[in-house]
Symmetry: D2
Subunit: 443 residues, 4 copies
Amino acid sequence: MSYQAPAYPLPAVEPDAPEDLLTAFRTVRAATEALCSPLETEDYVIQSMADVSPPKWHLAHVTWFYETFLLKPFLNEYMPLNETYDLLFNSYYETHSSPFPRPRRGLLSRPTVANVYRYRHYVNEAMGRLLNNRPSQHSKAIAERVCLGIHHEQQHQELLAMDIKHILAQNPLRPVYSKRLQIPPGRQPVPMGWHAYEGGLVFVGMKPHSVDFAFDNERPAHRQYLEPFELATRPVTNQEYMRFIEQGGYQDPALWLSDGWHLIRENGWTAPLYWVRDGAQWYHFSLGGWRPVDASAPVCHVSFYEADAYARWAGARLPTEAEWEHSATHARNWHGNFAESGYLQPVAAEAVVPAGDLRDPPLQMFGDVWEWTGSAYRPYPGFRTLSGSLGEYNGKFMSGQMVLRGGCCATPARHIRPTYRNFFPPSARWAFSGFRLAREANE
Amino acid sequence: MSYQAPAYPLPAVEPDAPEDLLTAFRTVRAATEALCSPLETEDYVIQSMADVSPPKWHLAHVTWFYETFLLKPFLNEYMPLNETYDLLFNSYYETHSSPFPRPRRGLLSRPTVANVYRYRHYVNEAMGRLLNNRPSQHSKAIAERVCLGIHHEQQHQELLAMDIKHILAQNPLRPVYSKRLQIPPGRQPVPMGWHAYEGGLVFVGMKPHSVDFAFDNERPAHRQYLEPFELATRPVTNQEYMRFIEQGGYQDPALWLSDGWHLIRENGWTAPLYWVRDGAQWYHFSLGGWRPVDASAPVCHVSFYEADAYARWAGARLPTEAEWEHSATHARNWHGNFAESGYLQPVAAEAVVPAGDLRDPPLQMFGDVWEWTGSAYRPYPGFRTLSGSLGEYNGKFMSGQMVLRGGCCATPARHIRPTYRNFFPPSARWAFSGFRLAREANE
Amino acid sequence: MSYQAPAYPLPAVEPDAPEDLLTAFRTVRAATEALCSPLETEDYVIQSMADVSPPKWHLAHVTWFYETFLLKPFLNEYMPLNETYDLLFNSYYETHSSPFPRPRRGLLSRPTVANVYRYRHYVNEAMGRLLNNRPSQHSKAIAERVCLGIHHEQQHQELLAMDIKHILAQNPLRPVYSKRLQIPPGRQPVPMGWHAYEGGLVFVGMKPHSVDFAFDNERPAHRQYLEPFELATRPVTNQEYMRFIEQGGYQDPALWLSDGWHLIRENGWTAPLYWVRDGAQWYHFSLGGWRPVDASAPVCHVSFYEADAYARWAGARLPTEAEWEHSATHARNWHGNFAESGYLQPVAAEAVVPAGDLRDPPLQMFGDVWEWTGSAYRPYPGFRTLSGSLGEYNGKFMSGQMVLRGGCCATPARHIRPTYRNFFPPSARWAFSGFRLAREANE
Amino acid sequence: MSYQAPAYPLPAVEPDAPEDLLTAFRTVRAATEALCSPLETEDYVIQSMADVSPPKWHLAHVTWFYETFLLKPFLNEYMPLNETYDLLFNSYYETHSSPFPRPRRGLLSRPTVANVYRYRHYVNEAMGRLLNNRPSQHSKAIAERVCLGIHHEQQHQELLAMDIKHILAQNPLRPVYSKRLQIPPGRQPVPMGWHAYEGGLVFVGMKPHSVDFAFDNERPAHRQYLEPFELATRPVTNQEYMRFIEQGGYQDPALWLSDGWHLIRENGWTAPLYWVRDGAQWYHFSLGGWRPVDASAPVCHVSFYEADAYARWAGARLPTEAEWEHSATHARNWHGNFAESGYLQPVAAEAVVPAGDLRDPPLQMFGDVWEWTGSAYRPYPGFRTLSGSLGEYNGKFMSGQMVLRGGCCATPARHIRPTYRNFFPPSARWAFSGFRLAREANE
């Protein structure tokens, strides 16, 4: 797939090349600000639901991360710009300090957006001094934490895209994030086939001596036994999902997990988030404004419950994360429709292979939509958290969530890998979340 | 009492002088903007609780009022700046259109603050055209509605002060609205006495042929019979209220209305809103920042339940609104600490009379704090609403609320009169609300 | 109106005849148990909403009242049957002890119904000893408290009828309280007329030297000035209310108080409580089972908001409690359809006078339905609570409620009087509440 | 372990012996009623929280199951006792009919307890006719469904014990379910050791040709790869858990999953459910009344979050369900402290082996307490639900829950097996839930 030049610059990040750490740091910092450049000052302040954070909070929080875990411990005589920021921009590190309540982040007009940018520049400048003059006894720790900080900021770039979309969607004025986003190409739908896997004992997780960056939750690598299975050659499309809607999918309790059934009834859900019907045509709110739903593109903004119900309706199931990873590990590359492609929405698969040829690997494993798996988010056997407050990074969220895999149209391209484990509560819909079917072999 | 020049210009309004309508209109419009001039753009966006509106919403809503009730019906070929504003800035006129849900006003980043000001100027300009060229057949209706619009905007000036205070108080950075506010003078407390009234048949409400402006809820004037009563010569002070706290007022159920007792227990209230104790000293958040509580000033930011409990503790009661009005009607003037004095907080009474001389009328009947009365907010006998959507102005709120009288430190001076009926739910505390005691005669 | 013999015996109570106190006590005690006699054991346990109490709680609570306020203070060497009952059956006397939380009353299976009756008999027996052997120095206090206890128990008789109705109505099995209730007579509707009153200075409240029993909230008698007004000659009927429904009353926001409008929208109310439509016919749940709505009977089980909206729709208003009482005071007697008539539901007015003759006093002022007035429930000028815990009897509920007058079909006949002030929150519908129109004179 | 005669008769059930189906059916039916025999009528009516059902609902619901899935489809000319019971006692089979809302089960006084027993006998009699005269073409289906019905009723026997305990615990009168329950023996604590397992490829789930009954969720058997691990030789005891409490376990956020931390803070949990401290001594509410906490017995009534936090504090983790089952599969028998032992609470382990001898298998794998595992409740690879409404039996609850293993002191002994998967939300505490530690090998 050949992608256009991005609408905003999100250049490559090479966190595994320590000599270029400062360049990598500066690149990701600039990319975050480029992502926010179309916003009005007022947009930075809004928290449209408890799960969403105001954009200025994201900008400050990723900055606080470097200040807290790098500048304060390692930069001699570092003076914070404002001591109270520590309280405001600590996201959830309970062992560090008592964080400002998450659902109240949208009540803070101060610091202003201008002051948040001032804070970013202040920390950037100090990070420059630290990285140009690394104390040799902490060199390794610093490099590791900068890498972690860079990946952390990339996570928040994706959250920014999700949150900005949710914020703007509340507004009956229908504001558009950016009119300069790429328009997705019109494409014929690619027929869905099945790719068969033999299963057996496979490795899951990041290998111990890999040079690639990985979060703690991707480790340790370990063996898992897979029964033979088949994986769909592409995600479920909007067209297929519309058929599910039309045939009463949202009205048939036999298709739904019990929690899901109650959720859709209480909330009156009858379609993916951001969809609105006008006569026979479905429209959806995108970062580029309201647009007709593209029948060929992967369905997006569905909860785990909707993905699971669709799969049951289709006589299939969701893959486990081990199945997904086993398939993705054999991908020839990790290309896909990521943030850099400049669409900021999923696009239809390109029929790069003769339709129906199942010997080729699945399409769109990476990018476009995060794919819900059937696996609950739990630690791998032998999982170890990082020490200190950084130990809260991932482990403490390992209950009540489901794993998603593969990245999406708002993920920075260099942020993803086959072992990457994303996670959301099964009810979440504001992420760019879709799904792909799986089934037992020989069905 | 001699007041300083105001920190921001809120000049006199003479709505009863129709030839000066445009001047009055422009003056009140300028005053609203002057009140907001110390704000940062981000401050305009926040809604700190459902009862609070974002400042930019206030700025737009009062403008929408003129557009809807004057420009659209009376200005030839008037074209709204933006048709969708009608949905967003209709506060609650259900018969006009379905209003945007009040608790979601803080989710709207657009229109931006700059666009809201543009909207104001656009409407101001059109109002200039209308008022300079009044169609004679509607001249009276226009004058009446402009007066109503001006008083409406003054109400929102006070709401702006209340809401800005509440918004800034959420922020642990403790932002200050303005450092240029007047500092209240240090004064010795004035002893409280009682002023006796004989009662009998009295008139309540705005007289039919008065030249003064009045809302519909102040009419019609009617007779009421009052038993003899006594009214305290000044409101209850912070010092007195601190004694109530220290002596366990918040712990004794016998002092409280049942709803109030449950409310203070559930919310853990043990002092007025905005009060924080540091050792032996109470501090309060003011629009000028955190300050020590002034023992001599009237207590402020208490609910009706707290006022009522204090009164019971003190062996007294709250006055009825008829008693209050009967007393206020005989005031020599309506002077007081209003918005123009530039404090934006209540200040201690000045001992203008020999202490204890009860022949003089009560102090601080006007300004400083709205005084909770013991009267539920219900229509006067023979009450008539305005016709059309304007009929929703006051009448539909006549349940579940208590009447407050006299205006406060954030009320424009020209907005008040003895017959003025303000109202809030008994649980509200973010208004500048205090109280004055009353009791039966000869107790 | 001539009433049948009651379905259960609720004989007369003469609390003002102290020599017959014990007879009166025993009569009211027996009446309560007669009222419960059709219940199954299981019915006694249910709490169908927070406002409802399980019948066995009522039975025990009224008993606790005598134990606490009479036996413990006045009966020598009285030993409670069970010390823990004091905690369980204290309704709300916060100054007495910390009451068991009201919304959790339905979680208590013990004491069993049999033990509650044992408790009643134990207290009855002790009361017999006390009243047969009154210590002379407390004779007056005892008589007063027994009267209060008797009236208290009568209030709970009515609450029992309301609560039992609400409890049984939850059940899709549609259980019937009693098949032996009287069937209301079929009657032609009586046309509604207006009765004019001149107003002026009137007395409201129980006169100081009256021999009649009265609660504290009916005192002191005081003067009020009434403008001339007119009162409808009978309550609004089901037929009239059906027309309000059919003509879109529940869909027009202009008719409703703001709180009421939000309430009916959130709860989806489109008719009185207990009404269900089957085709063109309305049915209602009664204590005698499901029955067609009687077009001629007064509408019942409406909230204050519905009464108020109807009145606005009809171009009228609700009477104030003073207007109502002024009219009722001139009634020739206080007859009406009370509990003793054995219907336990409102019945159509009997055309005892030539239709349209307005010189006769209004019909159905007493009994049938409690009539919502337009008056908030607040203390009379000079109101004094009883001393001690009994002071909590009425005064502490004087916020957030509206006054109703006249008693209903579930009120014991000897419990009512023209000065009687009942009160409920404006949203309440499970009481037997209807209303009567009023209007200014000469409209 | 030698057990006493049970306090109530819960005889053996042999559902795999089809010729004895009727005996098995009658035995389990009698056992349910024996379990309820100490209850008062009023106890049967209460629903103490949404998760709890009134005992009479359990009695009727298990009966409804036979009526719906056996009598109606297979018994010629079967007439239901009452058609409306179908609505009331359908628990959650959305595809069968719209169930009566679960949280409102406690609002139903009817059918009475006597009528519920009448319903049971009516269905029992009809089941006797069906089983004595099985239509041969449905013989297998009938046998399978009776087995399912018997196991279903056994599940509800355990739920009855849990729910009755919760119901009685609400009552400040501290009622005792039965004074005839066995008193647990006083025992010295058994030291905890570790039992090592080599791991490798193991089978999980019920083997295809097993004669044992199993629910759908235990199937199909499949392979799983286990890393080497160690399992504690007994569950965590009250003594150990008290040390966790004393050393601040409930105050240290680093020990808790994020959801768990918020849960314990919001609910103020600082000890297991039913524990109350009196000075230095902990007491707990048991079905036999309030008793001192037995230091040697397994800790019980803790949530998954508490189990998980304890494990982290102890430097260990919870076992996965595959690890637990792998260990349990090698047990020599499935004996344990089950319902039949007559304690209805967990008891201390008996030191049947020389302390510290790790070659012996773990103690108390079965009975006493359900053991929280670290596994989310999800379908096994190749999972198939039953067809029709019975397909809702287990599968639809496979989100948001954690697996527990091994049965407890309220589980019928013949109900358990090593493959048995119980499940509860991680916040649940009213089940008899404890836990056992695990850890990686060589730690």
